[in-house]
């Protein structure tokens, strides 16, 4: 029995789970306020553009988005198995590729700002 390479997918899952726990609730709250018509001042185009335009801002946004995407993709993979879908390799391939693609897209958008 060979040792598993699961840490490759698990470590970013664990990191992403921590990032989600600390940051996603408050980020959802911000866009929820916008959804209710009370757009926070920091969500104006100028403020957001300035934040996403800075190097640190890009890094923070990319880190939060990419790790959260990966963590969700990995957990969804396990959830598929728990719901009885046994095509684990196929499910994993699709979900991980989707997470990587969305992360690359967000990197590309960030670089345009």
């Amino acid at each position: 029995m060979a040792k598993s390479h699961k840490p490759v997918v698990w470590f970013p899952f664990a990191a992403g789970g921590t990032v989600i726990a600390f940051f996603i609730p408050v980020i959802v709250l911000l866009t929820f306020m916008a959804a209710l018509g009370h757009v926070p001042a920091g969500l104006s185009y100028e403020k957001m553009h300035a934040f996403a335009g800075s190097g640190l801002g890009k890094l923070i946004i990319f880190g939060v988005v990419a790790l959260s995407l990966w963590s969700s993709a990995h957990r969804l993979r396990c959830t598929f198995y728990d719901f009885g879908v046994r095509a684990d390799t196929l499910v994993a391939t699709i979900l991980y590729i989707a997470a990587i693609a969305a992360s690359l897209l967000s990197a590309a958008y960030l670089l345009q700002i």
Binding site: M1, A2, K3, S4, H5, K6, P7, V8, W10, F11, A14, C78, Y81, D82
Partner: protein
């Protein structure tokens, strides 16, 4: 002496006779017993007075031996540790431990667990063995506390009956056996983590666990297998990083260098 209060106990017990049955079925038993009794007492009364063909395992009657694990109303429990008064007015459904093959009635086949327990080498492994004349291997109280709770396991297999991942994927090494690996890994006298990683860090090892946490909730000895497995996921991940991403890196569980040293084939 005051008379103990008597209560009516209704048992619904899963029966299976390997010589004649192809399916298991429930059998109803109605009896009166003191409210201080546990489910195991009630089963013993059934066997003594009502139905001598009923089979179940038990030994110590004090939550130490780990023999009398059963599903009681769908919950893995020691039947010597489950008071009938807690179920008063209801039918108590007693089944053999989930996820294990049923040998006969409430008796299950623990072979799979026993084999897996052996595989994790649940004993102290030393690189150097000093003669007895040189005395014992000393340990501080802090070093003892590091693994003490994990050494409380009584091998009752309730955690296997609670773990859905073991039920869905029987190859999974499972909570108690992996926790035993962790118990020895955490022991300051032990040098065997590298050997145990050959089992712990495989797909069937910690990586089959999705941290449901049921194992820790049902453990009658207050061991926390879920924590042991989570900690081993982290150490196994660090091993992986050291082995694969750091040039010349050697982790405690390094397969490559141990193969070269002729340690494993």
């Amino acid at each position: 002496m005051t008379q103990l209060k008597q209560i009516r106990v209704q048992l619904e017990v899963l029966r299976y006779n390997p010589d004649t049955d192809t399916e298991a079925h429930f059998q109803h038993y109605d009896l009166t017993c003191p409210e201080e009794w546990v489910v195991l007492d009630a089963l013993n009364k059934v066997k003594a007075d009502i139905d001598p063909t009923l089979n179940f395992r038990w030994s110590c009657h004090m939550a130490v031996c780990g023999s009398c694990g059963m599903m009681i109303n769908g919950e893995p429990k020691l039947s010597c540790h489950s008071f009938v008064r807690d179920y008063e007015g209801t039918v108590i459904r007693v089944e053999p431990l989930a996820h294990f093959p049923i040998e006969r009635d409430l008796v299950t086949a623990p072979d799979d667990f026993m084999e897996k327990l052996k595989r994790v080498k649940p004993y102290i492994i030393r690189k150097d063995k000093k003669p007895i004349s040189e005395g014992e291997y000393k340990q501080t109280p802090a070093q003892l506390m590091k693994f003490r709770q994990y050494s409380m396991c009584i091998n009752c297999m309730l955690c296997y009956a609670a773990c859905p991942e073991y039920g869905l994927t029987p190859d999974f090494i499972g909570p108690a056996a992996l926790t035993m690996a962790h118990r020895y890994n955490q022991d300051s006298r032990d040098c065997g983590r590298a050997e145990r990683q050959e089992v712990v860090a495989t797909h069937e090892g910690v990586w089959e666990c999705t941290f449901v946490g049921a194992c820790s909730e049902v453990c009658p000895a207050h061991v926390d297998p879920a924590s042991a497995l989570q900690q081993m996921k982290i150490t196994s991940s660090i091993d992986w990083i050291v082995e694969h991403l750091i040039p010349g890196g050697k982790s405690a569980g390094d397969t490559v260098s141990r193969e070269k040293a002729g340690d494993i084939k």
